[in-house]
Structure formats: C-alpha cells, structure tokens
Symmetry: C2
Subunit: 313 residues, 2 copies
C-alpha cells in the first residue's frame, strides 16, 4: 500500500455517483499520485471543491487530461463521443483512456474514431450503483466485491488492460474481460431490462383509475416498493442506455413478453401446478445470488425492523 | 401495558412467517392471555414447540379454536374454506374469526358460508412480509409501521372490527378498513402485479441463449437482484393469490402491458425526450414512499458497504 501509486495523475471527467466513488476510493487507497476532476456544471465543480475529495478541480476537460496517465469519463453514454473529440488533442502519449458507461458497443463506436493512436483506449463498466446521483452520492466502498467489466477493442495493448484491471481491483472490484457486444447482451438482461420493467410498473401504478396514489404509496410494502428503488435512478443516464443499447434491450424485452404471456395464460386458465412449479424455480436463483455474495441473505434486504411498542398511537 | 390482555385466548392456525410473527409480537406485548397454535405438518408443530414461543401447541384445528375469543387463520388463501368448515362447529360464541390472506374477496366467499351466526367474521390482511417462510422466519417487529387492512363484510359487528383493529395496532400496525373488492384491486397493483413481474423476469434471465446462468448471477448488482427477493417468496401462497385474485391481476396486467408498449415504442423510435420525461416522473414516486415511512431512504436499500481494502486478491 505504501509503494508507488499505480498512476501518476488520474483525471476524472464528470463527478456523479461513479466519478465521486472512484475519487473517494482512489484517494483512500493511494491509487493515484494526483487526482484532478472536472464537471460540466459550475455548481458541481464548486461542490467537489468544497468536499475536498480531489487534489484539484479544473474548469475544462482539456486542462483535466493534461499530463494524465489515466483518464476516466464518468458521464452519460451519450456524452462520450463529443468529450472524446474535445480531449483528443490534449491527451498525453501512453495515457489510458477509459469510461464507466453501462453500454459498451456504442461507447466504443462513439469514442474510438477521435482518439489518437498514441493512447490506449480500454472501455470499462463497473456494475455497481445506487439510486442516488450527484457529487455527494459517491462513497469509497461502492465497488467492493462488485464486478468491473473491461471491453478492450481488438488489438488493445495487453499491459494497458492489465493496468486498468489492477486499478479496479485496487478499488475492491472483481475484474472480467469480454467483448463489447457480449457485455451489452449480458447487461441488457441483468440491468437494462430490470430498469425498464421497474420504470414501467411504477408509472402503471401512478395512473390507475379506482386506486389512489396515496393507496399505492401506503400499501407499497406488499412488493411494489422494491421496484421503486431502481426506478429512481438517474434519468439522463438511463435515457442514454436505452437509446444506445436498443437492439439488445428489444431482444430481451421480446423474451420477457413471451414468458409473461405464459404466466398470464396459466393464471387465466387457473393452472395452479404451472404457477407453483414456476415460483419454485425462481426461488433457487435468489439463493444463487446470495451464495456468490452479490446480495445479502438478510430478509427483506436487511431493512431494519422497527422497535416494538415504540409507537405513540 | 399491564392491564388485562385484549383477548383471553388467541388461536393461531398455521405457523409460517405471518403466524409466527403474530405469535412473537402478541407474546412480547401481552396482547392475549393464552396463545395456542397449531399447524398442519407434525414437523412444524414440533418446531413451534421447540421454539417455545406459544403457550400451547395442539394437534388439531378443533382443539386450537376451543374456547378462543380470537381465531386467526395464517394459511394460504386456498386452504381457508376447508379450514372454516372444519372449525365451524367448535367455535365459541362471540369469537372473532379472522385471517391474514393477501386476497380478500375469495376468502370472504370461501369462509363465510361455513361460519355460524354466533361468531364475528372480520377478514384482515397485514401488508408486510419478507421473502422467507416457515416457523423460524417470523419476528415480533414485522408489522411495526406497516398497514393492516380489515375487510369486514356488510353488517359486521362494529365492536368486533374495532377490537381486531386494536389487536393489530397493538402489534405496531396502522389499520385501514375497506371493502374486500377494493382491497383486491389495490393489492393487485401494489403487490400481486409486482410479484408476477418479478417471477417472470427472473425466469426470463434463467433461460437465455447467449448469456450463461453464472453471468446473470455475477452481474445481478446492475438491477436484477432487486427483483429476485420477491421472486423468492413462498410458492404455495403466491399460487393461491393468482388463482383467487385472477380478475384484478389480469386487469392490472393489461394496464402494465399498455405502458410497456409505450416505453418500447419510445426505445424503438429513439425518442429520448419521452424516455427522459418518463424516468423523471417515476423518481418522484420513490420519494413519496420514503417520505411516508414505507421504505428507508438509505441508498441501495441500506445494503451495507463492504470494507475498503479488505479483499485478499
């Protein structure tokens, strides 16, 4: 831990949940000699300055990447192309350029054409997050025991990939390498489809006739509230995810629709055996996720039981 | 608290998550002079005996209800009719007979014909739970600050309704009274539809080509894992819910399908504004649920951040 940091200068472009968590983690663990951050809005830059998490806050992307040996774009997927174009002339030769976007094929296509041959482009996606966003929402432990997926383009420099992997392992993550296309298919089912479904059901509940909004909120503990967490995620980020991973998302949506039709038919026909068999199978998947440490075994997500007899009524 | 208990003898038929939580809460708070429990399986009865939570474990439903002034059926909805028929001749005059089922119209129809005029039938539904089941899964605080909905039939005795309400308030719950039909509509959207969707998406993820099961588990922190909790709920209970609240569930499913089509179309057409507007609205609903105390504000459901730098790798 007291040896030389992995990188001399880390430049973070964008300071939301992910950028802020990288900064806090890298600082706490000494992964970079200097951490420089910037953000598009003056309010965010001022707040980062105030928080005192990074060594320097600068006003422009060009200034941020100047002399940096690791540059990470922590911005919505749709903004990656224009920012790549903007920073390209200012990148130091040999620098590793990466991002944290939830879609990788589109990022690769948007950024690669602008980046000079002298830098190493290794897109990355830390599969971690919360429903909060903004400069205050990050925390150093966000990536611990989560996965970070690297999707280097064909012919990428192996040392650069290894070094970026070491950085993410330093933040506590497990690292996996795959193609951008495979990443986009896997994440379409483990992340993008669940978000789309959550966004849908939350709005369905909002607009019903015969059931008031206040009833939906009051009786949400019956299951609904679990969906609302991810439906509260950052709107800009998720708009870009669905615009840029359209094909894989539509494919998964097709599969989901078929399965939903099957269950709907079982309900309509009163086929109790089919329902029971189905519900028994899904229980096993939950167990698998808890077993490999991607969720806690605590009942009800560990929501703390309130104290008995503490109520005034 | 040291005054006379609300009920002389509480009989619990069934001892899963809900029955076991009522027993523990009623015991801790002295809400009943004596708590007698029974369950269909000898294993469950033996385990309840071992746990030492109730005053007496008996072998038959008839024995359990004998002389009880409060009888609560804590069993799947589909079993309520036959059990009502079985206990009817053994109920004490003036006893309150209730249940905890997630569907109320069907319970009313199944039980009412068997119950004698001399007892007060007040169906109830505590909207609380975890994904665990069985005699060990209950805890006394389960109902604190959750809602319990009473659905007394027309002409029900007002004192009996009040007294059952007092019992649930004693356990820490808020109490609301509504018709069985309205209950079934409200719960179809806040509980039954979310469970159906979660059951569907978890099985969709299980059967995909091109994405392995192990990848689904590994990268579940991207959103998928939130769905798996409720898809791990008790299969028998949920089979019965969908069989007995079929009409309301199919209606809500229709609404959901329409909304999903709208979002799908926006994705297909690349309509970023429609997506952004939609995702911004759903964020507000999450805030509403946290504000009224039906969920915690803690990010990521309060899943505890792991310790930084603790990993061996």
């Amino acid at each position: 831990m007291s040896s030389a940091p992995l990188f001399r200068k880390l430049a973070l472009i964008g300071f939301g949940l992910i950028g802020g968590s990288i900064a806090r983690g890298a600082k706490a663990l000494g992964l970079a000699g200097e951490i420089v951050a910037t953000a598009r809005s003056p309010q965010t830059r001022a707040r980062v300055q105030e928080l005192g998490i990074v060594d320097r806050v600068v006003e422009t992307n060009a200034e941020a990447v100047d002399g940096a040996d690791l540059v990470i774009l922590c911005i919505p997927v749709g903004a990656c192309g224009p920012v790549a174009q903007e920073i390209a002339p200012h990148l130091a030769p040999g620098a590793i350029v990466s991002d944290v976007g939830s879609v990788k094929g589109a990022v690769l296509k948007a950024m690669a054409p602008y980046l000079p041959e002298s830098v190493h482009f290794v897109p990355a996606h830390p599969v971690a997050g919360t429903e909060n966003s903004g400069p205050d929402s990050g925390f150093a432990e966000l990536f611990v025991n989560r996965w970070c997926i690297l999707t280097p383009p064909e012919g990428a420099n192996a040392d650069a990939v290894d070094k970026l992997g070491a950085f993410w392992r330093g933040l506590g993550a497990n690292v996996e390498v795959m193609t951008a296309d495979h990443h986009d298919l896997v994440l379409a089912v483990t992340s993008h489809l669940p978000h789309l479904i959550a966004y849908t059901i939350v709005s369905t509940a909002e607009e019903l006739e015969g059931v008031t909004q206040s009833e939906v909120l009051k009786f949400s503990a019956g299951g609904f509230r679990d969906f609302t967490r991810i439906a509260a995620s950052d709107p800009t980020m998720w708009r870009d995810v669905f615009l840029t991973n359209k094909d894989a998302v539509l494919e998964m949506l097709g599969e989901f629709q078929e399965d939903l039709s099957k269950l709907t038919r079982a309900i309509r026909r009163g086929d109790g055996d089919a329902l029971f068999e189905h519900f028994t199978r899904t229980r096993a998947i939950r167990r698998g996720i808890v077993q490999i440490g991607q969720d806690e075994a605590a009942a009800d997500f560990g929501r703390r039981p309130k104290q008995l007899g503490a109520k005034a009524e």
